[in-house]
């Protein structure tokens, strides 16, 4: 069913007239006939923004550009809308505002995280309606109880930078596109003298606990609205400013009149609820009335700014000066196509194209640009800063993305990745803790998850020489971050070499991740010749040994008194010293020194058995229930791919004498965990980390330990791939005898020379060249 749907989808999309000269490539039956080429192809046709919109994928289907500040996407529900005005509590389900199974659309808001396991944003919900004015969204079971509308997936179309759907209750065709800072709406109305545009500033994602702090709106003239929304959500103090323009004069407008939304002093002297051009309060809901002819298009440009409505207006004027919706859509889709063409693949079958380019699409959704066109943005200190010679980014889901996404960026987005480091350094400068970000968005640190993995991102860039920033300053920021005593058990970690479980929960996960992070600092220090820092942190990087319990063979929570915690179940997660991963998975988290870890765990043979078991054992339900953020589809045996701590695990075979054991498993994971269709993702995409794993692994290599130059080789899924690098060079991944069944690698040539170990260096990629995988249905059981 899903395949048929996507086949239809391809046919439809092929009709899309792409503005560039493109080479239309086909599917498995004619791949061999294709010429390998760096010529630009039409790749956006393979992107399906619907993938991950069902269940726990937490992706959004709406319109955005690569790393764009605006993510204009439908909300099918959010926490705010529930029966009888009570929160339904399912805020997690609506992290991206959209669930594929839903039957109604509440409206279209302008900011969304992609694939996260926590939520926020959902700013400036716009909904076009006809008929009786309703200022409440109503409930899904009765769409006509409010401004929401029923819709059907059959009228829905999602492409990069384009989304459209028929709002059935209002007989309005909604179309959305976006530039970096501007969302553009095109609503095709029926004839009506009761046509409305609702702007609901009370709507939002993660609308817990009176999220709105303040809202402020001015009707500047008969087509222009400005204002802002200030929220206390996941980000504690967050304000987004806007400028909103209509292509048609407003007939009349007004607001709902909740508490505090009118001027105290003026109340009674005249009507502030209708056609009064300034409004402010905690909970503004506005409406704009129009008369429409049959088929008339009302267009809206909504520009955002992190600084001011004046900034938003400038952004609008410069990014979308006109009203040509098709032109904006075309330009933004060209931008997408340029980004997607950074890796041109040939695949075995059609589904793989879709998975690959949708992964590329999802990988390029964040971090997002966070500044006005003039470089101004609001910093952590709530002061306005100017990004000096870099583009400022925000929304760092670093516990996820340090693993593969930022390493991927060091290959295909080096300029952006270096700017992301610059943004993190600016964050550190502004931070009152002088810390690099943990999980930061919109000028707020939300402290989500553990570790201080920004240091891995910084160190990886330093080690790989991708530094349009001051590396010594960056190293110092890493060191500062790793030395903040009051941060999450760090004082005891520094003192004792581990986080004591009785002092600070998830202590093993923290100890292991701190140790890895420390190792990346050491690597950066080494590269920069800072011996003292190297010595300090290489020593700290060995702290993983302090939580290894030789008796059980597992990493195990240790108490403040130096003894291991008595009760211990390596299959369990919570309260056991771990987070998002049990000891079976987390015990393998020593990416910085797998060889030493294997030795610690009894050597090659014992470790082989252990790894094999991980993938083959059954995880009983009672443990699965403690596994966060994923469906059953997200695990294989006890290997939890849907969460990140095991992302490197399959590649650990490369440090044993059986690298071949990784190869079929990688191909299995690629097939099992990434599928076409709305429910194609087994867990949160986690702002592109899951997608980055797919991209690396399908290309045959993976960064087990960011902060090192090394990639571990696996088993490519593609038939061929060309990296079009920013430095003008190309790196080619070639396969021989590639097929669905030929999942094993019999030999690998790098630039024609056979490799004697299953590793590749970053410099070997970035300097251009070719790697050739000889594929086979049978493993090559030699150690390489």
């Amino acid at each position: 069913m899903i395949e048929n749907k996507y086949l239809r989808s391809f046919v439809n999309r092929s009709r899309f007239l792409f503005g560039l000269s493109v080479v239309i490539i086909g599917f498995s039956n004619n791949v061999n006939a294709q010429k390998k080429t760096a010529e630009k192809r039409n790749l956006i046709q393979y992107v399906d923004p619907m993938i991950g919109t069902a269940k726990m994928g937490h992706t959004y289907p709406g319109a955005t550009v690569p790393f764009g500040s605006v993510q204009l996407s439908p909300e099918t529900d959010t926490i705010a809308y529930s029966v009888n005005g009570k929160y339904n509590g399912d805020v997690y389900k609506y992290c991206a505002g959209y669930q594929y199974e839903d039957k109604t659309i509440v409206g279209f808001s302008h900011t969304h995280f992609s694939g996260t396991g926590h939520s926020d944003l959902g700013d400036f919900l716009i909904m076009p309606t006809t008929g009786k004015l309703q200022l409440n969204p109503g409930v899904a079971s009765k769409p006509q109880s409010g401004y929401r509308s029923a819709f059907s997936h059959s009228t829905e179309k999602a492409e990069p930078a384009y989304y459209s759907v028929l709002l059935e209750d209002h007989k309005i065709k909604a179309e959305l596109t976006a530039t970096t800072r501007v969302g553009m709406h095109q609503y095709t109305f029926p004839k009506s003298d009761e046509a409305h545009i609702i702007l609901d500033l009370t709507s939002g994602i993660y609308n817990y606990d009176k999220k709105n702090v303040w809202t402020f709106v001015r009707i500047e003239n008969d087509t222009l609205i400005t204002g802002y929304r200030q929220t206390n959500g996941w980000a504690r103090t967050r304000t987004v400013y806007f400028a909103m323009s209509f292509n048609k004069k407003i007939k009349s407008y007004g607001q709902a009149t909740p508490e505090k939304s009118v001027y105290r002093g003026f109340w009674g002297r005249f009507d502030q609820t209708k056609n009064f051009p300034e409004m402010a309060g905690q909970n503004l809901k506005l409406f704009f009335d129009f008369d429409t002819e049959e088929g008339e298009k009302i267009k809206i440009k909504m520009a955002l700014s992190p600084v001011s409505s004046a900034g938003a207006l400038e952004n609008m004027k410069k990014e979308v000066p006109g009203w040509d919706f098709e032109k904006v859509k075309k330009q933004s889709q060209e931008i997408w196509n340029n980004e997607l063409n950074k890796i041109q693949i040939e695949a075995i079958q059609k589904e793989d194209f879709v998975n690959f380019y949708t992964a590329m699409y999802h990988a390029f959704l964040g971090p997002t640009e966070y500044m006005d066109l003039d470089g101004n943005y609001k910093g952590l200190d709530m002061n306005v800063h100017t990004a000096d010679k870099f583009t400022n980014y925000t929304s760092y889901s670093l516990w996820d993305t340090y693993r593969a996404l930022h390493p991927l960026f060091n290959i295909v987005q080096p300029k952006r990745n270096s700017d992301m480091v610059s943004s993190m350094l600016a964050h550190s400068d502004q931070s009152v803790h002088k810390m690099l970000p943990i999980w930061s968005h919109y000028a707020n640190e939300n402290w989500c998850m553990i570790g201080y993995h920004s240091v891995s991102v910084v160190a990886d860039a330093i080690v790989k020489g991708n530094t349009n920033f001051d590396p010594e300053k960056a190293l110092q920021a890493c060191v500062n971050t790793a030395r903040v005593p009051y941060y999450d058990g760090l004082e005891l970690y520094m003192k004792k070499g581990y986080v004591p479980e009785d002092k600070n929960g998830a202590s093993v996960s923290k100890t292991l991740e701190y140790a890895y992070d420390d190792w990346t600092i050491a690597q950066a220090a080494k590269k920069l010749g800072k011996t003292e820092i190297y010595n300090e942190f290489i020593e700290r990087s060995k702290n993983y040994k302090n939580v290894y319990d030789a008796k059980t063979g597992f990493m195990r929570p240790k108490l403040d008194d130096g003894t291991f915690k008595k009760e211990f179940d390596p299959l369990d997660t919570h309260g056991q010293g771990f987070i998002e991963g049990n000891s079976w998975n987390y015990s393998l988290y020593v990416p910085q020194d797998p060889a030493e870890m294997i030795k610690l765990m009894g050597g090659n043979d014992k470790f082989n058995v252990r790894l094999d078991s991980l993938f083959s054992m059954h995880l009983p339900d009672k443990y699965f229930e403690n596994t966060e953020d994923i469906t059953r589809d997200g695990i294989i045996g006890n290997y939890v791919h849907g969460n990140e701590p095991s992302h490197h695990v399959v590649y650990l075979y490369n440090w044993t004498n059986s690298p071949w054991k990784a190869q079929d498993k990688i191909r299995m994971i690629l097939k099992k965990m990434y599928r076409n269709g709305a429910d194609g993702l087994g867990g949160n995409d986690d702002f592109g980390q899951m997608s980055a794993w797919y991209i690396f692994s399908s290309l045959g290599f993976y960064p087990v330990a960011p902060g090192s130059e090394d990639y571990a080789l696996g088993s490519p899924l593609v038939k061929n791939a060309i990296f079009n690098l920013e430095n003008g060079k190309t790196f080619e991944v070639e396969t021989v005898n590639q097929s669905e069944k030929n999942v094993f690698v019999s030999k690998v040539l790098l630039n024609g020379k056979q490799l004697d170990k299953p590793f590749l260096k970053h410099s070997e990629v970035i300097n251009g060249g070719k790697i050739t995988f000889y594929m086979s249905a049978k493993p090559n059981k030699k150690k390489y």
Copy 2:
């Protein structure tokens, strides 16, 4: 009793070593011996900031500089503090935060209006305490129930730019001084290992209805704090930023933990309530702990900014780089002395010196500077604007201050007044209504009171040629303002020539004030040669005739159908078509054309009787109760001096054939309405308007109709006065035979030439010269 107090006070103040060469002038017994001189005198010694702090004066006693952004003053209570956490409802009483009768001080906050009849502000309350840490203010009846302290007026000292008091419960001597943007505190502690500084961001004036919207604080290092407070008070959307510095390292710090003040994501992982350097939430209360030696001084600099904490920090660095409290105090007092020396008087008796220079002091407390040192400020649109070639001011109590305060500024503060007009023009540019301010403060229009009297201020400046702004643009802003149809009955006023009482209350007051305002626009248009505008607005200026009821001889509310409202009591105010004045008072409100008004009201004799009655009749209690903002002291007969609409009334005798009748009454008003002592003001000082009346009238002339060049002559109270004008010229007011009893003027010479009518022109003042009043105990009943 009061006199004795002030006599002591003078003696004390004479000990004050003033940094300039000063001429110490004495009191009545040696005035004649003094040499008239433009040499700088020590005039701050005559200022008593306590005047008006009792009852309804609504002045504050704390430290500020002329037109300063910071008004650092004690709060004896505010609405926020009441029994059992319930509002006591007496927000009006605490407009200035301080009531003389109170026995406890809650703390010292940094922003206060002077003399207003509505309240707001009270930002950043600081209180030093010793002993057990208490984070609630407690109640006045039990000061030890909270951080507040008992105090006594005997330890209290209030001077321009200096305030000090002993906080008895904590044994701390508190001293305050200020620069334009920085409040400086000096607290002398006893020996204590429990010394605290409380920073209560929940405290505020007009703390109705959860005034705090958001508070945000960072502990930048062990002496520096930054942050902001955002409120929804009288100003709907108002944010003040701060940077606060200690002269001593903080030992430890923390916050009370109300709802939402901690990071959601981080809660539980470590303690955010103690020594965690970033805090945000709706209701932050902070404490800073110190150890103190006996007599140790903890000093605090608190800098404010309307833009950002970075701006506040820059303001601090530049305005108060060091820690020398005495030096700051001395500099700020020198600034005061310079301003006070703009008019040097000789008086009949000591009380008059105090009344005069305290009036000067109060007149120079607002509008207040509202921008960072770099010229940046937040505008009505919440965007940051830069004041281009002017100083930006805020807090325009225009319904009051257009009458005499801004005209006074056109003489003694022309640069500032012109900049105030520029500030109002910027407001108009930013206004979504394109209107000049009505009652505006801190980038908010609060729409308080009636009329659009900014046009009077603008026109007065244009007519008097005090225009460092573009007068044509300014005129256009006036015209725009006067044509906004949805503003407070204006559409009907424009259509019908009056505001119909059945459509919009206080209709007579509005009609009369609009008509006057329109006349000022006509005068400005005439000066600028804009005939069309002149014609339009001179026509509108006659609209006062439309609410004159010839039958009763009073201005009377008219209905939409053109008939007068039936029930009518010219002694009553509310619901009678008036506001802050009954028809007896308001019927005389035709300052733009008293001659025509007198004709309308039956001519000279009838009008004389009428005016005489006003001052001699008794206003029964039931009417007095409807008179706002004043005590019984604020009225003479039915003449209500405590409210503004009658401020010009006594001078109307100048348009009759009995100008002499004004003279004794003016002297009576000066004596009766302005007295030494905390309860010396009969009503709100109204941001200097009451004081400006005093200053003008005691100097012998008054601007009956701002927008004209003319001043009406009265009866000077001073013996002599020298205006030291900004243009370098001096204008002298001289009296002959001046005494308490010689209240009548027998003749007036201007530059030696006898005047034949009781008027003076602005140009005659501003170009320098001398006016000589010959005083007598008997009236000169000739018409002049």
